[in-house]
Symmetry: C2
Subunit: 451 residues, 2 copies
């Protein structure tokens, strides 16, 4: 107690807040309302120096912030700060302001996944050059502490795989499709009505948001630079009610997963060279898997490490207060470093592993296809798999009837689940199946994870 | 790359390992086998200076460790080290060695929950005086990163409640009772046969192990010193197959929970003064609660914070490799601090909240009682609750028959679930119920959490 009392008489640390939207408002409120606790935890007071906004005249009387602190002059605000919090989002002016802040010796806390996925390495290098911290826990999975555990808690272990539900909108939509049988468009409309999806949901449903987060997770987990455009990306717009039903029949659920894996590329002569596979796509996972029970708009990140085994981190992935919690945790960390000397661990890319093509990713497929009900069809289908070096784990056959009266036709539905194979071989197999005479239609193709 | 290449030419950091049991062996192996990765992540090599053991002649040829490094002279080993890893366990000689190490300027990483729960504050103070780190992530919930997230990631938030399944043995036993209908003793024998419970399971089944962890969690979460003997403790030895069945009927499951809550003591005139409640006891939680699905010997810690909302951390709570993963994460952290200057955040007890008696804890009870089937009994029972200021949430009545022939008697079973009330009022209510003429037997009493 006496030590902190002593230290708190010291000069306050000046905090600049860039952006005052949903997250920024929560950050401002918590900075003011928790001032005493923050002072005790940091060892020096945090003084809110100013809040950079685009519309200074807007009514913000609900915030416990002196109105004179709002400014449109972000450039001069960052020059006065010890710690800059960037919650504007997007590439510019966020990038220039962060660069200016670090150049002036300020530590930076940001929630900007898009910027980090696009331009992380140059920003990390600038932070190292300036001897300041650049922290960004809030950029991935909102309130869930996931980056610090990967960067620090697992620093003595080897991460093998990260499977993340890191986009709340798509998890909400897929959960509704699972529980109600709704189609994709209906579920999206409901999510929009409830505020879980934006009017233009592209960034979420096409997987761009999750891909940016996957790049950040993979970079930390594998000590390798991965940018957003290196992430293979498939959204959930093609996920049909039939796919979700097919998953149910397997006691699985469809989730949009951000997958980061340490794996081996099969080179010449089958010799494996290490690499990382980073991808975002819908996949079936067993309901009994810890990620299978993640409902509504919640996020969760499942990590497999050599020694630690299976870990899961679960919580809210978005929202003003949850995101502000992660931002302020970082603010306390960088403030402690300024009080105590030293920097936190910066980025490391020493492993410098190659980022593999999607075709090289090892995955499993679940394929449903409608075929003629006649002898020899299963042999023909099995041959198509074998010719592509894909091994079948299970095949299930059921009879279905189509048409009526004279058009009535007997068909069979085959449901095939493969063993693990390179994605290129699996997709070539699907292509070959669609060309077979006896195959009427490939009704559902989905990757299978988490077993 | 160039920076780390440059730095790794520097003097190695000398690491002393105290103890070479299950955890120590895993730590030693990982230190040697991951040497290159650890060097790159720390910025300097970690050199294993020696391994203190009780029996130096024992065959340890399965470890990739130079046999000359094993020593019984732990005292002189810690004097030569920059970083000391203590995985001996127990109070002495662990405490004296840790104190000696810090006095000589070494940073310490320990997995010793019993020592920290008994004597944490004096050790934290010694670390601060010596200007070294004392880290102990492995002491709670094995491989699960939980202390660092509470101490750092949530440092800008206010933790309201921590509910933890932090003892794998008891979770295994309760899970078996739930899935097989076995009684306590039968399930413990099975756990012993499978190596999940020790020959003398007292520390686990009586809740001592969980209580030590609860003290550590509460101290960090509430910035308040809590020692193991301040933790209210009830083990699982009294949990019966009937209790587990009663939980099933409520769509609940019985778990041994470590509960740390920020709450208010009701003082004179009902004015609340803030305090913390720290306790370990079996409780019913809904199966749909994130902790409800934690099976086998897994651990999980559920955290509620004001801004972050609900978070959960899940993984393996014990075992050589999982625990070693947490130890080595701490080793990398303290090593980075030695390379980069500064210390990690130490303990803080600035909030200094009173630790409340169990009687003041706010909780809910599930009570089953067999009563005479005659008019007026329910009124009599309800009056007993009302007289103690306990409000009933639900009451369910079912007819049962006891005895045969002339002894046949009609009875009713009442199942009462209360609203939240002080534990003292709830236990006084149970006492009063057992004294009522019309009550044959109180067949099951269990607290209810997580709703």
């Amino acid at each position: 107690m006496s030590e902190s009392e002593h230290e708190t008489t010291a000069e306050p640390l000046k905090v600049a807040l860039l952006g005052c939207g949903v997250v920024g408002s929560s950050v401002a409120r918590m900075l003011v309302e928790h001032a005493d606790d923050l002072t005790a935890r940091v060892g020096r007071p945090l003084h809110l120096e100013g809040v950079a906004v685009r519309r200074p005249g807007r009514d913000r009387s609900d915030l416990p912030v002196d109105p004179s602190l709002f400014t449109t002059d972000a450039e001069s605000l960052v020059e006065r700060a010890d710690i800059v919090i960037e919650v504007i989002g997007g590439i510019e002016p966020a990038r220039s302001l962060i660069q200016a802040a670090m150049k002036h010796g300020a530590s930076v806390v940001t929630a900007n996944k898009a910027l980090l996925a696009e331009d992380g390495p140059s920003l990390y290098a600038a932070a190292a050059d300036a001897g300041v911290d650049l922290y960004y826990e809030a950029a991935v999975a909102g309130a869930i502490p996931i980056l610090r555990p990967i960067r620090e808690s697992l620093a003595g272990d080897e991460v093998r795989r990260v499977l993340g539900i890191v986009n709340g909108t798509t998890n909400y939509v897929l959960d509704k499709m699972d529980t109600t049988g709704q189609g994709f468009h209906e579920a999206v409309e409901q999510a929009q009505a409830l505020g879980y999806a934006e009017a233009d949901p592209t960034a979420d449903v096409e997987g761009f948001d999750a891909a940016a987060k996957a790049a950040i997770l993979a970079s930390l987990a594998f000590h390798t630079r991965v940018s957003g455009d290196q992430v293979y990306r498939e959204g959930i717009t093609e996920v049909s009610a039939a796919d979700v039903q097919a998953a149910r029949e397997m006691d699985c659920v469809v989730k949009l997963l951000a997958i980061c894996e340490r794996t081996e590329a099969l080179g010449e002569g089958g010799v494996g060279t290490p690499g990382v596979s980073v991808r975002v796509h819908p996949a079936m996972i067993p309901r009994s898997h810890p990620l299978g029970g993640v409902r509504d708009a919640y996020n969760a990140v499942f990590v497999e490490a050599d020694a630690a085994g299976q870990l899961m981190f679960y919580g809210k992935g978005a929202g003003g207060d949850p995101t502000a919690s992660a931002v302020l945790g970082d603010v306390v960390a960088v403030a402690r470093h300024r009080v105590g000397g030293g920097r936190g661990p910066g980025e490391s890319a020493y492993a410098d592993l190659p980022v593999l093509d999607m075709g090289q990713a090892l995955t499993r497929y679940h394929i449903s296809l409608d075929v003629n009900d006649r002898p020899g069809v299963l042999a023909q289908v099995a041959t198509a798999f074998a010719e592509h070096g894909v091994s079948i784990e299970t095949v299930r056959q059921q009879l279905i009837e189509t048409g009526e009266g004279e058009d009535a036709q007997k068909q069979a539905r085959l449901v095939v689940v493969t063993h693990t194979a390179p994605d290129a071989a699996l997709s070539a197999t699907v292509e070959a199946l669609t060309g077979l005479d006896s195959v009427h239609e490939v009704t559902s193709v989905m990757r299978v994870e988490g077993s």
